[in-house]
Amino acid sequence: MKLGHEFSKGLIEDNPVLRLALGLCPALAVSSSVFNAIGMGIAVIFVLTMSNLIVSVIRKGVPQKIRIPVYIVIIATFVTVVEMVMAAFRPDLFKALGIFVPLIVVNCIILGRAEGFASKHGVLASLLDAWGMGIGFTFALVLIATVREILGNGTWFGIPLTGPGFEPVLLMMLAPGAFITMGFLLALFNWRDEAKAKRLKDRVVKRAGFITRQPIRPEGGK
């Protein structure tokens, strides 16, 4: 199913943070606790959904030359909405996320999806793409936050997990912990990809060997 794929590709396969390395600044900055990560994720899902929706609806009427400023104004408008709603209803979250709420405007995922996907596809596909990418972003943030919160604070979503014998690694809560966690998670995803590609190649080689009834030798081997 093609529409289903528009949704599912953002989750793991083309995960915006872990595969495409987009939206890195908020991914590292707000991932010191799972609560903040989910708050940021919801804000991004909202902005991404609305901007993809509007861009997709007006895609035929926007002149090619000024499309980027038009998209930026649309995105900035919804970011302002998020800012005002969050400041009114969740001031604690608003304070914890700090300048990263207005900075959703320059999150490359959102402009990237508006320019790269919503401006070329229909409304339904754009909405599914926004949800897939938004949930993929949230998933990546929660993953980073899980590692950092458990190691750095001994809790997950505020629930204490480790006993009193565990000394929290403060470094994980600070900036270096975010960079190092991110580096190892990216490596993990690379490794998984490579293993998958290798399996695929092995299968092809095996089948080729079966057809020609000859073992495949490395080139130049005699």
Binding site: A175, F179, I180, N190
Partner: protein, 201 residues
């Protein structure tokens, strides 16, 4: 005029709260443009230039057009902050690009390709928003803009130097490229944590 205050802001933005390594701003160019020392220097210069102009322009816009107590019409338009700042930065980058192209073609050759990338550099919007959040006056905002740019350039150039050497190192395959760059950034951030004990004045 109290200059020690300006020094505190400058040292704070360059070292103690380095924009890249401590505040996580401008990570995309930090990872993307740090493969070669020469392009890192070009990008750094372009960012210093744009950040200074953006600090100046956004401060004037905020206090003369948006903030009700000081603006020329006295209407509360502060909710337009995000929209107006991003538009100011985008058009500023465009104007700077056109000006440099006409007036200093040599400089344009060096910086030209980096300028469009800067519009979506979150460090530039970040410095404009921080200047307002911290309540800086115009001079402080300018100093903060220059210092933030220098801090960004410092981190970028150091990283590019390390990554040029990493090319020769024997790194496990899954870690090659971006992952090892992040781990390096983590180690650099540990080094920069050492500055957090620094007190000025």
């Amino acid at each position: 005029m109290d200059f020690s205050n300006l020094l505190v802001i400058a040292v704070g933005s360059i070292l103690i709260n380095n924009f890249v390594l401590m505040r996580f701003l401008g990570l995309c160019p930090y990872i993307g443009v740090s493969k070669q020392l020469s392009s890192a220097i070009g990008m750094g210069m372009a960012v210093i230039f744009v950040m200074t102009l953006a600090s100046f322009a956004s401060w004037l816009i905020y206090y003369y057009l948006l903030e009700p107590s000081t603006s020329i019409w006295g209407v509360d338009l502060t909710f337009l902050r995000t929209v107006s700042f991003i538009l100011v930065i985008a058009s500023l980058v465009q104007f700077v690009e056109m000006f440099i192209q006409k007036l200093a073609p040599a400089l344009y050759q060096a910086l030209g390709i980096y300028l469009p990338l800067i519009t979506t550099n979150c460090a530039v919007l970040g410095v404009a928003v921080l200047n307002i959040d911290e309540g800086y006056n115009l001079l402080e905002a300018l100093v903060n803009g220059v210092a933030a740019g220098i801090g960004f350039t410092l981190a970028l150039v150091l990283m590019a130097g390390i990554r040029e050497r990493l090319d020769l190192a024997n790194i496990p395959k899954p870690l090659q490229g971006v992952p090892i760059a992040f781990i390096m950034a983590g180690l650099m951030a540990i080094a920069f944590l050492g500055f957090s004990g620094l007190t000025v004045g």
